[in-house]
């Protein structure tokens, strides 16, 4: 076994203790996301289920917002976990970080209650400020937007001030700061109201696309870099070279790849060519990540200090490539996207890519934290339960994605290609057996996903309690 490339002292840093709170809330919100997803899956089967009380729109709002918050919280938790290890000192401004964290937790609680119970409001500015902004993914009312900006600003201050205090900037820290500045700035692009719906969506995508297809991917690159140094003892030089390559490819293709959202919203025709060209290149960095993951774990023959974390890291590399890369490429060229855009195929891509790119990353981080949070640090971390949670989460998300893909093909074919995209065409497509047959399948795969989530939570609470020798013996 290689020595840890990032040494974990016996006592946790304060920022690592804060990171544990981040991870706890992240995993809890993961559960919230699954519950509301299941309610929607059942509403596909029986549209009258909870009709008018907890309608599809409310469940979907909670489903996608819980997802964004838990993944972002998980990634930020990863930074709070590794930052003191990288800089060799406590995070500067940790009190402020703790304060804003509890403000954010309270704020998220209020927003969730308002989404669930108030749901909608009259068509005026009051609603946009205090109830719901009504723009998918960034529904957060405006007051919450300001809280989020304050949160990211304090987070950025923590990172920059700690780096300055340590008087040592590494490639990883440089990329992190560069990326967080962009991430914070881009969020403000979504904090405005405009009547012109084309302009509205133009800037809306700066948050939605440039977060998940650019700045989040780079943030993942940074925390996965630290994770691999920890898990496999990969040399820093190798990690940083790969990270720079990732950034060159992610920003080099992803910034103008934004154009694939500008095909049909009223923006000029040159976006069709630009968006098609650059987004077709967007899978390149994801291929590079797969190469890196396979090479690195193969070179170490899967010997690691933490087996579940390493396996989630490998799942992340493949999941990101297949979910974001392949399922995205499948429908990104305008010639295809004209027919598939806004169908169930988009949902297939959404589920696969968020799971692959971000769920895998956050669970890698959570397992690393869990290993070190106990009084006795067990090396290598292993249990009998984690492979079940791991296997069934992956299997059932593939099942969900497959059902969306098939109903998406049916919808694309029937509604768009054959019947001309009208209301009637839409109804004909969603009542077609090729589409409705996938409903039950999706629901039961979702139930299996919930079961696997329960196993995951149980494993996170119990793994590492037994001494390593006992686990090893159990494996023999």
């Amino acid at each position: 076994m290689n020595a840890f490339a990032l040494r974990q002292p016996k006592e946790l840093f304060e920022s690592q203790k804060l990171a544990l709170w981040y991870f706890a809330v992240a995993v809890l919100l993961f559960g919230v996301q699954i519950i509301f997803g299941l309610l929607m899956a059942y509403q596909y089967i029986d549209p009258e289920f909870l009709y008018g009380k907890l309608s599809f729109m409310t469940n979907r709002t909670l489903h996608v917002n819980a997802m964004i918050v838990w993944l972002l919280v998980g990634l930020m938790g990863g930074v709070y976990w590794f930052l003191p290890l990288e800089t060799g000192r406590e995070v500067v401004g940790i009190k402020l970080a703790k304060f804003i964290w509890w403000v954010i937790v309270a704020g998220v609680g209020v927003v969730v209650l308002v989404y669930a119970f108030v749901q909608v409001g009259p068509g005026n500015a009051y609603t946009l400020w205090f109830i719901n902004e009504g723009r998918e993914y960034v529904e957060a009312p405006r007051w919450a937007d300001f809280a989020i900006v304050a949160w990211v600003a304090i987070f950025l201050f923590n990172v920059i001030a700690t780096t300055l205090a340590a008087r040592r900037i590494t490639g990883l820290l440089g990329v992190l700061i560069f990326d967080l500045v962009a991430l914070g700035a881009l969020y403000t692009a979504g904090m405005h109201y405009t009547v012109n719906v084309t302009m509205d969506q133009y800037l809306w995508w700066w948050v939605v696309h440039l977060w998940v297809e650019a700045t989040w991917e780079v943030l993942v690159g940074v925390v996965m870099g630290w994770s691999l140094m920890y898990l496999l003892g990969t040399p820093r030089k190798l990690i940083e070279t790969w990270l720079f390559l990732e950034v060159a490819l992610v920003f080099g293709t992803g910034i103008l790849g934004l154009g694939h959202h500008y095909f049909w919203i009223g923006t000029p025709e040159y976006w069709i060519g630009l968006g098609g060209f650059f987004s077709a290149l967007e899978p390149l960095p994801l291929v590079a990540m797969v190469v890196h993951a396979v090479y690195d774990s193969g070179a170490h023959r899967l010997h690691t200090v933490n087996r579940p974390a390493l396996f989630w890291a490998i799942a992340q590399a493949f999941g990101n490539f297949i979910g974001a890369g392949v399922w995205g490429f499948m429908q990104t060229l305008p010639q295809i996207n004209m027919y598939s855009h806004g169908t169930q195929l988009a949902a297939a891509h959404g589920h696969f890519s968020f799971f692959g790119a971000y769920v895998g990353t956050v669970l890698t981080l959570v397992y690393i934290a869990v290993q070190n949070a106990r009084k006795r640090v067990v090396v290598p971390l292993d249990s009998r339960l984690w492979p079940w949670a791991y296997g069934f989460l992956i299997f059932s998300i593939i099942g969900v994605v497959a059902s969306f893909t098939i109903s998406g093909f049916a919808q694309t074919m029937i509604e768009r290609a054959e019947l001309g995209s009208t209301w009637n065409a839409y109804i004909t497509s969603y009542t077609h057996p090729w589409y409705t047959n996938t409903h039950w399948w999706r629901f039961w795969m979702g139930m299996l996903f919930l079961g696997a989530y329960v196993a995951l939570v149980w494993d996170l609470l119990t793994i590492g309690r037994k001494p390593a020798a006992a686990v090893e013996a159990a494996h023999d």
Binding site: M57, N196, V197, V247, R416, I427
Partner: protein, 221 residues
């Protein structure tokens, strides 16, 4: 803009590669310095092009600049026609017909569409429908909602109203009573003012040039 997408793409990639190579003289392609330069250079070049195109796009999507209609389009008949050269449908604006029996001035039309947009956001329409193709996937795309033949074929006879705008307004206020298909829209309790404003917004949106999306709208049966 005088440049095609191919020229922009080639220039972006070419500049990124050349500037990276010039800055990285003396470093092998496997060194971290080489890739650090590549990361910074490609990010900056792409960001610069995005900013430049954003100014150009912002000019072109102003209401009345050609792609997005003026607010007063709600006073006119609108439709889609096949453009043989572009090989896609384009919106056409016809004669003035009024809207709910009235001709709106530019300011009045703006105020009405603004109210409609706020109502659209306040009632969270995007979490079931799609607006310009974006949103959730549980209810029909609203990009061309005003032009949907279903209003005349089904809704107007069912409600016994004489005009399309009346049909849309009345149906939107009582979608639970007139279900279409298996999925029922919940009653979101639009006031009269909100319902009229929402119909105005949907009519205005139906006249945006979306490069032919959604495809073959209303052509096939």
């Amino acid at each position: 803009m005088d440049y095609s997408w191919i020229q922009i793409s080639v220039a972006a990639v070419f500049l990124s590669v050349v500037i990276t190579l010039v800055l990285s003289r003396g470093y092998g392609w496997l060194s971290p310095t080489f890739w650090r330069n590549a990361a910074v250079v490609s990010s900056m070049i792409m960001l610069f092009i995005l900013m430049w195109l954003t100014f150009d796009t912002t000019e072109k999507i102003r209401p009345g600049a050609g792609r997005v209609p003026t607010w007063t389009v709600i006073n006119h008949q609108i439709g889609l026609k096949w453009d043989g050269e572009k090989r896609r449908q384009v919106p056409v604006v016809g004669e003035q017909t009024g809207f709910f029996g009235k001709v709106y001035s530019p300011d009045e039309a703006f105020a009405l569409i603004n109210k409609g947009k706020m109502t659209l956001q306040g009632r969270n329409c995007m979490e079931c429908h799609q607006i310009l193709g974006n949103g959730a996937y549980y209810a029909p795309d609203l990009t061309r909602a005003w032009l949907d033949p279903w209003w005349e074929e089904r809704i107007m006879p069912a409600l016994g109203v004489a005009s399309r705008e009346e049909a849309m307004k009345t149906w939107l206020q009582h979608p639970d009573k007139y279900p279409q298909g298996r999925r029922r829209m919940p009653n979101l309790h639009f006031s009269d003012e909100e319902a009229v404003a929402l119909v105005a917004f949907l009519k205005w949106m139906s006249a945006i040039d979306t490069n032919g999306f959604p495809p073959r709208f209303g052509v096939a049966q």
